[in-house]
C-alpha cells in the first residue's frame, strides 16, 4: 500500500488545511533517507522544499498540486540547486534558471524534494551509465531499474513521492516504468516545453511523467502541457485538457486496437509475450476489437534511432567546452587542450561513444549515407504509422523485450544495451504519445504493456490507459 493518497486528494486536503504541506515534505524526505540503499536519489532539496511548504501552509502559495512533493530527474534545472545529469562534467553546476515545466508545477503548489539518478545525460537503459552510481530495482536489488529515468521510476515505487519527472527520448520513461511497475507516460512530441532540461536528442526529447496511477499522471500532465515561448517546438493543448480524474467514460468498447506484429516476434521473452496477450484478451472482453497490424519498417527503427540520436547528442554536447560552465581541465596549455582535456576527462564512456558516432554520421562524406538516409527512413516509418492509425484507435505491444535484467549483464556490450530500446524508439521517431502500464509479473519482477495513440491524442490515450489499468487489476 502506498503512503500517498491520490494526488488530487492530497492537494485538496492541503488546500482545506486538513494536512500540512510541511508534514508531506517531511514524510517524503524521511522515506528518501530510509530507502537510500536503492541509490535512486542524487541530491535532496531540503531547505528549498521546506521553505516552499511553509509558504503553502501560510496560504501564500497554492493550487491544484498544493503541497504535493515530487522528484525530478537530475537533468531538469531547478533554480539554485545542483543539476548534474549524473555526469562528472556537470558536477557542482548550480542551475541559474529553472525548467519551464518546473515553473508550471511550482505555480500550482507542487514541491520538488529531490533530484534522481539517471544514466549520464540520459544515455542508457539501466542507470549503469551514471557517472556516480547505479540505482537498484525496488523488487530485486541485484537488478537494474531500467533507464535512463531509473532513479525517478524507482523513487515512485519506493514511495518517496507521489510522482516523479523523467525524460523520454527513446524509451527512457516507459522502459523503467515497466521494469519497476509504475505508470510511465511519454507525451506527443512538443506537448511539454523542454526549456531548462539538459538536451539529449532534440528532435525526440520529451518530458516523461512517472506515477502510481494514470489519474495521478493525468493531473501532472495537465499542469505541464502547452505552448512555451522558450521552446519553439511546443504545440497547442487539446481543448478539454488532460486531467481525467473526474472522468469515467468508457472509451474502449467498440474501439479498434492494433497489436503490433513486429514487436511480438523473435527476441521477445515468453513471459512478456504472455502479459501482452493477456492484456489483449482482457481488452476483447470489454468489447474492444483487437487485431494484429503490421508496420513493416519497424525493425529498422533502432538503426534509424542510433544514427539520429548520436548525431543530435554530439551537437548538443558540443556546448560543454570547459569555458562557461562545468568541469574545466586546469593544467591545459592552450585553448584546444582546454576543450579536449575537459571533455576527455569530464564525459563518461557512453557520452564519448555517442559523440564519436554522431560526429562520424554527420561528417562530410558520410552525412548523406547515414544521417540523411536515417531521416528519410524516419519518414517511411511515420507514413506507415499514419496508415495503421487510419484503421486503429490505439496500438498495443510490449515495452521492452524482457523484464528487469541483472546489473552488469548488458553494460559490457553497448549494442546489446541499445536493443533494450527496440520497442520504444519508434514512438519517439514518429512523435506519437505512448504509455507503459503495469500489467503482470514474472518471478516477482513487474512487466508493463505499451499503449500508443496517434499524435495529439494524449487525452484519448490517457482515458484509454485509465480504462485498461482498471481491467488489468
Amino acid at each position: 500500500m502506498s503512503q500517498w493518497l491520490p494526488i488530487a486528494e492530497i492537494a485538496d486536503k492541503v488546500t482545506k488545511k486538513q494536512i500540512s504541506a510541511t508534514s508531506l515534505i517531511e514524510r517524503s524526505l524521511a522515506t528518501i533517507t530510509q530507502k537510500k540503499d536503492y541509490r535512486a536519489i542524487i541530491s535532496t532539496l531540503e531547505d528549498r522544499a521546506t521553505t516552499r511548504a511553509k509558504m503553502i501552509d501560510e496560504g501564500k502559495l497554492g493550487g491544484r498540486l498544493a503541497g504535493v512533493p515530487f522528484i525530478a530527474k537530475d537533468n531538469f534545472l531547478v533554480y539554485g540547486s545542483d543539476t548534474t545529469a549524473a555526469s562528472n562534467i556537470l558536477k557542482g553546476f548550480k542551475a541559474p534558471y529553472q525548467a519551464s515545466v518546473i515553473n508550471k508545477l511550482e505555480s500550482e503548489g507542487a514541491i520538488c524534494v529531490a533530484k534522481s539518478n539517471l544514466d549520464a545525460f540520459a544515455h542508457g537503459a539501466s542507470t549503469e551509465n551514471s557517472d556516480f552510481f547505479t540505482t537498484t530495482n525496488p523488487h530485486d536489488q541485484s537488478r537494474v531499474p531500467g533507464g535512463s529515468s531509473g532513479g525517478s521510476a524507482a523513487a515512485v515505487v519506493l514511495d518517496m513521492a507521489p510522482f516523479a519527472l523523467g525524460t523520454d527520448t527513446g524509451g527512457s520513461t516507459r522502459q523503467p516504468a515497466s521494469f519497476v511497475g509504475c505508470v510511465g507516460y511519454k507525451p506527443t512530441y512538443g506537448l511539454m516545453s523542454r526549456s531548462g532540461i539538459i538536451a539529449m536528442a532534440s528532435s525526440t526529447d520529451t518530458v516523461g511523467t512517472l506515477a502510481k496511477t494514470v489519474n495521478d499522471a493525468s493531473l501532472v500532465i495537465d499542469v505541464m502541457a502547452g505552448i512555451d515561448s522558450l521552446d519553439s517546438t511546443t504545440i497547442d493543448r487539446q481543448p478539454k485538457g488532460y486531467d481525467i480524474n473526474n472522468i469515467s467514460e468508457d472509451n474502449l468498447r467498440g474501439k479498434k486496437i492494433g497489436l503490433i506484429r513486429e514487436y511480438m516476434g523473435e527476441g521477445l521473452d515468453g513471459e512478456v509475450r504472455d502479459v501482452v496477450n493477456d492484456a489483449c484478451l482482457r481488452l476483447k472482453s470489454v468489447g474492444c476489437e483487437v487485431s494484429e497490424v503490421s508496420i513493416p519498417s519497424l525493425p529498422l527503427a533502432l538503426a534509424v534511432y542510433y544514427i539520429i540520436c548520436p548525431a543530435e547528442v554530439s551537437s548538443n554536447l558540443s556546448r560543454y567546452d570547459g569555458q562557461r560552465f562545468g568541469f574545466s581541465y586546469k593544467e591545459a596549455n592552450n585553448l584546444d587542450e582546454v576543450y579536449e582535456l575537459s571533455r576527455g576527462y569530464g564525459f563518461g564512456k557512453e557520452a564519448k561513444r555517442r559523440i564519436m558516432i554522431g560526429t562520424y554520421v554527420l561528417s562530410s562524406g558520410y552525412y548523406n549515407a547515414y544521417y540523411k538516409k536515417a531521416q528519410t527512413v524516419r519518414t517511411k516509418l511515420i507514413n506507415e504509422f499514419n496508415e495503421v492509425f487510419k484503421n486503429c484507435d490505439f496500438l498495443i505491444g510490449p515495452v521492452a523485450p524482457t523484464s528487469a535484467f541483472k546489473i552488469g549483464e548488458n553494460i559490457k556490450d553497448p549494442l546489446h544495451m541499445y536493443l533494450s530500446d527496440v520497442m520504444t524508439v519508434a514512438v519517439n521517431l514518429v512523435g506519437i504519445p505512448a504509455v507503459s502500464i503495469p500489467a503482470g509479473e514474472k518471478n516477482g519482477l513487474p512487466i508493463g504493456v505499451q499503449l500508443m495513440a496517434n499524435a495529439k491524442k494524449d487525452r484519448e490515450l490517457l482515458l484509454a490507459s485509465k480504462n485498461l489499468e482498471g481491467i488489468l487489476r
Binding site: 548550480k94 541559474p96 534558471y97 512530441y189 512538443g190 528532435s203 515561448s229 519553439s232 517546438t233 504545440i235 529498422l300 538503426a303 542510433y306 544514427i307 558540443s318 567546452d321 570547459g322 569555458q323 562557461r324 560552465f325 562545468g326 568541469f327 574545466s328 591545459a332 596549455n333 592552450n334 585553448l335 584546444d336 587542450e337 582546454v338 579536449e340 582535456l341 571533455r343 576527455g344 564525459f347 564512456k349 564519448k352 561513444r353 559523440i355 564519436m356 558516432i357 560526429t359 562520424y360 561528417s363 547515414y370 540523411k372 538516409k373 536515417a374 531521416q375 528519410t376 527512413v377 524516419r378 519518414t379 517511411k380 511515420i382 507514413n383 553497448p414 549494442l415 514518429v430 512523435g431
Partner: protein, 96 residues
C-alpha cells in the same frame, strides 16, 4: 560504406575535441565498427520519392516579436558556474 580505421577514430576525436586514452581508441574502434555495421541495414531500404524528416510537429516558422524579455537571470548566478572569472569577465586561454 567504408570500414572505420584507427586513423578515422583519431580524426573523429580531434573533430569532436575529445582527448581519448589509447585504450579508449582501441575500444571505440571495435565498438564503432559494430554499431556502424548494425545501422548498415538502412543502406538497402528503398526511400524513393520520400523526403527526410527533420521535425515532427508540423509547425512552420514559429515567430515572435523582436523584443528583449527579462527572465530575471542574475549575472552572479550565471557567472557562478564559470570556471575562471576575473572582474566579471570570463577568462579563456589566449586565442592568438
Amino acid at each position: 560504406m567504408a570500414v572505420i580505421s584507427r586513423d578515422d577514430v583519431l580524426k573523429l576525436a580531434q573533430l569532436a575535441r575529445l582527448s581519448l586514452s589509447d585504450d579508449e581508441v582501441e575500444q571505440f574502434l571495435i565498438e564503432l565498427r559494430e554499431i556502424l555495421l548494425y545501422v548498415e541495414q538502412l543502406k538497402s531500404v528503398n526511400v524513393d520519392n520520400l523526403a527526410p524528416t527533420d521535425q515532427v510537429t508540423g509547425l512552420v516558422n514559429v515567430m515572435r516579436d523582436d523584443i528583449t524579455i527579462d527572465y530575471g537571470y542574475a549575472p552572479g548566478d550565471l557567472l557562478g558556474n564559470v570556471p575562471r572569472v576575473e572582474e566579471n569577465l570570463i577568462m579563456v586561454q589566449r586565442v592568438l
